[in-house]
Amino acid sequence: MKAFRPILLFGAGVAALVAIMLALLVAGGFSAFTALLALWNGSVGSWYSLTSATLVRAVPLMLTGCAIAVAFRAGVFNIGGEGQFLVGATAATAAALAIPHGGAFGTVVALGAGAVAGGAWAGIAAFLRDRFGVLEVISTIMLNFVALHAVSYLVRGPLQESTHVYPQTSTIVEGIRLAHIPGAGRLHVGLLLALAVLILTGWVFRHTAAGFRLLASGENPSAAESAGLIDVKRTTRRAFVASGALAGLAGGVEVLGVTYALYENISPGYGFTAIAVALLAGLDPWRVILSAALFGALEAGGGAMQRDASVPSVFVSVIEALLILAVIGAQTRRWRGREVSPSIDASAEAAA
């Protein structure tokens, strides 16, 4: 029975979600039946929509959701997933365009470049936090904007495609792209990579010393430091950078598997949706698989609702936000255990 509890909870969550959506749709004067039908058809109603819409969107959410889970579990409020995703996508694109004949080697290099760039971008915020006590919440948000404007500049400047007409980069050659999964439409092997990353991260959390240090540092930094002899500062810094690397990898996977080029609106807010994904999963990488699929379905279905029932697609962020609030409302006992958020602790120490 105990083993089924997460699944039961998840089912209850989905049921509550549908109920809330129904209520909001009716309140908004939309044809609720048409909208929900569109949501269903656009997300899981057919093999095509399940693979080419829902799962394609779930892949970046799995990786960014994992990024947020790693950071939050370590007590780091990384709100910068969006910026790290963009920087990762940019680096992966640049690398892929630089080695057009790279083949599989090029793929690995490009994905690696994405992860390294995302990690470095988060590293700036980690450095500012450690060295100057700058709240990572603020610094990562600022870095999001910088990344956004940097991409906007690059796709009109140094990285613009050769005809200089469109604000995007040239297309990445086929040899470097992530292959499609046979029989699954637009779904690409990035899904397998994302699943592997999530399973591995969950395993690291559960069964390794590094995972234990990370969780201990996040749960109770002072106890981890004094009783566990853990270098909390180093542990959280590494978790922060790893989190950025995961988000950067997500950007690289998206470029190599879906868009094949870099442009401004490459992310419909994956870095922010990831927060909802991770929280719904209780910050557990294994459960992120399910919640990312759910949000992938929501995002895919949201597009269909806009097309077929003229429900604005931003409606989905209302649902996402309500989900977060419902989760933290239900989990307040859990969060209450953490008297002092470690980030604030660090800044108070630096300030003292």
């Binding site: 709240l135 948000i141 400047g157």
Partner: protein, 302 residues
């Protein structure tokens, strides 16, 4: 020269006005030991509220709607953080997402294709006699919409309130040592709710400023990170009203640089200028966090 300087100064004040309003509200919230990331959402809700209000009741109705929008978001923050004791950062992030989605959905539902949003009454500049005739600074500082003067007045008012009144002292005590304040008879929870709600009022007004005094209409996501910047500005201003105001104007000036450079015919990628304020904020935070003393209870779970 003044044909570059005057528009530059005017643009500085224009950018700084909503930031001063929002940051003053967040200052009170942070002095009470809380961080409301949902300020971004409050500004956006205020902007949308002002659109609805202005359609119904002109400029005054617009500001009333703005206040209402901001207060709704702030009240949700108070409910989750103070009553349910949920995590502040996550609550604030969720509320910003909620506001973004809700205002976007409502805007498209209510105003979608009608164009009514483009025909709302706006708040026009009101030159202050004599002061507006001062050379260079006069037109920039004193030929502004009334809400800018409200922002000017708020700066010394809040500085005085924090330093010179009982309530202000109680607020600061809560931010430093809430338990001690509680023991000393301060009604901690009530003060915090009040601070959060006032933060919502001012955040909402900041959003109303964007619509009524600047853009003249609403656009989805038009707060464009101003709430987050206001939070950074509170840190840059070291939690003091005068410092915060100064930081807001410096930020306004940095943003206005692009207009000045364009006016001087100096062409560089505009994205660089768009990114400069955020880089400047990061640089400023490095310096500010190094020497400043934040309210000791800041961000601890209430």
């Amino acid at each position: 020269m003044s044909d570059v300087l005057e528009p530059f100064l005017a643009a500085t004040v224009r950018t700084a006005t909503p930031l001063v309003l929002a940051a003053m509200g967040e200052l009170l919230v942070e002095r009470a030991g809380l961080i409301n990331i949902g300020l971004e959402g409050a500004i956006l809700a205020g902007a949308f509220g002002s659109l609805v209000g202005a359609t119904a009741g002109g400029v005054v109705g617009g500001y009333a709607g703005a206040v209402l929008g901001g207060v709704i978001v702030a009240a949700l923050f108070a409910l989750f953080v103070l009553a349910l004791r949920a995590d502040q950062i996550i609550t604030g992030t969720a509320l910003t997402m909620l506001s973004l989605g809700a205002t976007g959905t409502l805007y498209r539902t209510l105003y979608g294709s009608s164009g009514a949003a483009l025909a709302i009454p706006t708040s026009v500049p009101l030159p202050i006699p004599l002061l507006s005739r001062l050379p260079v600074l006069g037109p920039a500082l004193f030929t502004q919409p009334p809400i800018t003067y409200v922002a000017y007045v708020l700066i010394p008012l809040i500085a005085w309130w924090i330093r010179g009144t009982h309530a202000g002292l109680a607020l600061r005590a809560i931010g430093e040592q809430s338990e001690a304040a509680q023991v000393a008879g301060v009604r901690v929870q009530r003060m915090r709710v009040l601070a959060v709600l006032i933060g919502g009022v001012l955040g909402g007004l900041a959003g109303g400023t964007l619509v009524l005094a600047q853009a003249g209409t609403f656009a989805e996501g038009m707060s464009a990170g101003r709430g987050f910047i206001a939070i950074a500005i509170v840190v840059l201003g070291r939690w003091h009203p005068l410092g915060v105001a100064l930081a807001a104007f410096v930020f306004g000036a940095a943003s206005a640089l692009q207009f000045a450079f364009q006016a001087m015919g100096w062409h560089a990628p505009y994205q660089i200028f768009l990114a400069v304020p955020y880089l400047l904020t990061l640089a400023g935070l490095m310096g500010a966090a190094g020497g400043a003393r934040s309210p000791a209870a800041l961000g601890k779970s209430p």
